[in-house]
């Protein structure tokens, strides 16, 4: 029997799905609706110091759509909570008291002075919340004031603030990381060495979502001007997955709990984050696109997959794929795959041919014996997977591994041995030359 119960840093929740710190968790009314819908927990929208910040009074969001206006990516220029601190603290207290089985973690962002952090931490502790998340991620607005991503982009600051927080609270401390850096491992290492109990990532990506070509204003437009915002939603998932995996497999941070965030829309997205080392999942854009009821799909989908795959608990899934994430130089260069087109499924669109011909390896026919026919030329196919990527038909083109014989392209025998770049004769720094 599958159990979706989650225990992240000792914080228990009935499922691993938390709403990320964002508009959906800004007020009691929203959070209660989320808990009624079945969400496992929330990270309350980031609290700051009084006087509370103000938001723009025009559009805060910009979107990237598919042709059917499916939301592919969302960008926002909203800041942290714009309500008085005490209002939030009172609501957090009430919510946690009324929903003891749900996780309530509080996101925080105050100026980089120890006093500021110790003061707000005390107030949060008094609410009965389960933990804190340090918002070192927001790339817009607050970063201009030396907070958010401005901290997250300097590992030394991360370490320093994490240390203060661990000194001043007994609550678990999660450091939320910004992806707007060159190598995610450095801020993660800093969080760990500062004593943080976990990292959560990714926060949003600095972005301009579009330009209005009539007014020449970036969108969302505030009186004809725009400012970069934070990008999130399905479009950012691959970036987030990689960053989660990098931290999960880094020698210095291996074992550091990770709360996975970034474009999770379906149970499958969530399972992928878990497999790459996330200990739980935070969701925002999907809820902001469809409402809280998506939790039903997330939980039933994840449980159904776990059941059919023989996983009993979330812990069984966490990190399953991490050992398979490698540096490029470790990949087996003796693995030979060729594309294969299922002629019964092929609808003759010819996209595989034209992209291979124009942009790759000239390895797919357009005509055979004078008639339209798309077939892989094994002598030319490097197994790149572009044809699979562009084919509009499920399973029509597959990559087939060669296990014996000779690679028709290189005329080299297929070797069952593992061999990688480090030992390749062409590698000037390798051991094989």
């Amino acid at each position: 029997m599958v159990d979706l119960k989650s225990n992240f840093l000792g914080i228990e929740s009935p499922n691993p799905f938390w709403l990320a710190s964002a508009p959906p968790t800004d007020k009691e009314v929203n959070v209660v609706r989320a808990f009624e819908a079945g969400w496992g927990g929330v990270v309350w929208k980031t609290l700051g110091e009084d006087p509370h910040i103000v938001n723009v009074n025009g559009p805060r969001y910009g979107a990237v759509y598919s042709s059917d206006r499916t939301l592919m990516g969302l960008n926002n220029i909203e800041l942290i909570t714009d309500r008085p601190l005490q209002t939030n603290l009172d609501e957090i207290t009430r919510v946690k008291r009324n929903w003891p089985d749900r996780a309530v973690v509080v996101s925080l962002m105050v100026p980089c002075e120890e006093k500021n952090w110790s003061t707000i931490l005390k107030k949060v502790e008094d609410t009965g919340a389960d933990g804190v998340e340090l918002n070192f991620g927001c790339p817009h607005g607050m970063s201009e004031r030396g907070m958010g991503a401005a901290v997250g982009q300097v590992p030394e600051y991360i370490e320093m603030v994490a240390q203060w927080c661990k000194q001043h609270t007994k609550l678990p401390v999660i450091v939320k990381l910004t992806p707007n850096i060159t190598d995610i491992r450095f801020p993660a290492r800093a969080a760990k060495s500062g004593g943080a109990d976990a990292v959560s990532l990714i926060n949003t990506i600095s972005s301009i979502v579009s330009v209005n070509l009539d007014t020449m204003s970036p969108e969302p437009s505030i009186d004809g001007w725009g400012s970069h915002g934070g990008y999130c939603g399905p479009a950012v998932k691959p970036i987030a997955l990689n960053m989660v995996a990098e931290i999960a497999r880094d020698e210095e941070t291996r074992g550091l709990p990770i709360s996975g965030i970034g474009g999770v829309t379906t149970w499958r997205d969530a399972a992928e984050f878990l497999a790459l080392g996330a200990g739980n999942i935070q969701v925002c854009t999907a809820a902001m696109t469809y409402g809280f009821r998506i939790i039903e799909e997330l939980t039933t989908g994840l449980a159904g997959w776990m059941e059919s795959s023989g996983y009993n608990s979330i812990d069984d899934v966490i990190g399953r794929a991490v050992p398979n994430v490698k540096d490029w130089q470790e990949l087996n260069l003796n693995y030979i795959a060729k594309a294969k087109i299922d002629q019964d499924l092929c609808i003759q669109c010819g996209r595989c041919h034209v992209v291979c011909e124009d942009t790759s390896h000239q390895a797919i026919t357009a005509k055979v014996n004078g008639t339209r026919h798309f077939e892989v030329i094994d002598e030319e196919c490097v197994g790149c997977n572009l044809c699979v990527s562009v084919c509009p038909v499920d399973n029509c083109i597959t990559m087939e591994a060669m296990t014996e014989g000779t690679d028709p392209r290189t005329q080299q025998p297929i070797s069952p041995e593992y061999a990688n770049w480090t030992t390749h004769p062409n590698n000037p720094y390798g051991s094989g030359g």
């Binding site: 042709s67 059917d68 609808i347 010819g350 041919h353 357009a366």
Partner: protein, 433 residues
Amino acid sequence: MANHRLQSLSEELHPPLTQHEASVESDRCYFCFDAPCITACPTGIDIPLFIRQIKADNPTGAAKTIFDENILGGMCARVCPTETLCEQACVRNTQEEKPVRIGELQRFATDTLMDANTQPYEREASTGKTVAVVGAGPAGLSCAHRLALQGHAVTIFEAHSKPGGLNEFGIAAYKTVDNFAQREVNYVLSIGGIDVEYEKPLGPSLSLDDLKNQFDAVFLGMGLGNTNTLDVPGHDVGGVHDAVEFIAQLRQADNPQSLDVGNDVVVIGGGMTAIDAAVQSKLLGADDVTVVYRRDQDSMNASPFEQQVAQTHGVLLKTHWQPSQIIANNGKVAGVEFEKTAVQNGTLQGTGEKRVFTCDRVLLAIGQQFEANDTLNGLDLENRRIKVDENGRTSDAKIWAGGDCVAGGDDLTVSAVQAGKVAALSIHTQLSA
């Protein structure tokens, strides 16, 4: 009742796509390599490109792509049997039996540009050459537009008092509402350089020799003058009408709902005209309308879609019956006697079984024929129509021809447009030499 009828007449089979519908539908196009739909289009419109332009929010660019090959792309979007042309070739048929709605997308694009009332073309500098075009139907207009574009001065001689040919006189009203045929002609003529002289048929006052003497080249696109007559006893009694004439009368009527369309109508024939006449009769208030065709339903020239339109409008289709006599009562038609047919030894034959369908009106839609008379100056004929080569050249070096009046045509608007275009290119080459 009258109001209801009028509304039905002006209703369209397909309401135009909205911007969003066009966006979603355009996204279904796979932008195929060497796209089968282009090959299937008699005018060779670059369909994947124009659909991609719609998808990229460039419908006017899409319209130019269409007009580059087919200046009557607006009408063709309405009347082409797309299900047997471009849409039949769409690879989505193989995948899901649901082609991209190319015709409706074409209409979306062309409507956008025509509503903006701008020509995407500028005429070349005047060549000083002159061309006479006989007939302001699809072939003549297509030829004239292309020649005008290339800087030649064109004069169209039209037998009717109105341009458009069968687009104006021969197509059911519900396919071309809002006076579209005339709007399209005006749009085509707005390129400039084309004069139209009305009520100028070839004949005693306008001979081919005159045209050859006054112009550098002549294009004949006068269509088919005559309709076939039914050679059975009683064919000339009252209440027996020609379906083409009925549609022309209807299209030109100020108050179509005031026309006497009969209560009990038998339409004899199996082509588009039969369907158009039957559906129009039904829409105008006839109680019972039956299309009677001598072969099986698959052999009907009307496409399956057209047949379906008839059936969903309450028209009864009866097959394997050929007329043997018209039965009159006091000089007025009272019924038609049909003989059952069957294919025996590969030929269609009467079986001797007879049956009378009572009716008070008969519409004959048994095809048109070309009236080859001495106005043609002895041009070579083939199958009783004008003989032309692949460039539309007749046996006279100064005369080209295209559309329904030439041999080998398929009686489609789109094919006439192509013939006019091909002839114009050939004329241009000759005049430029």
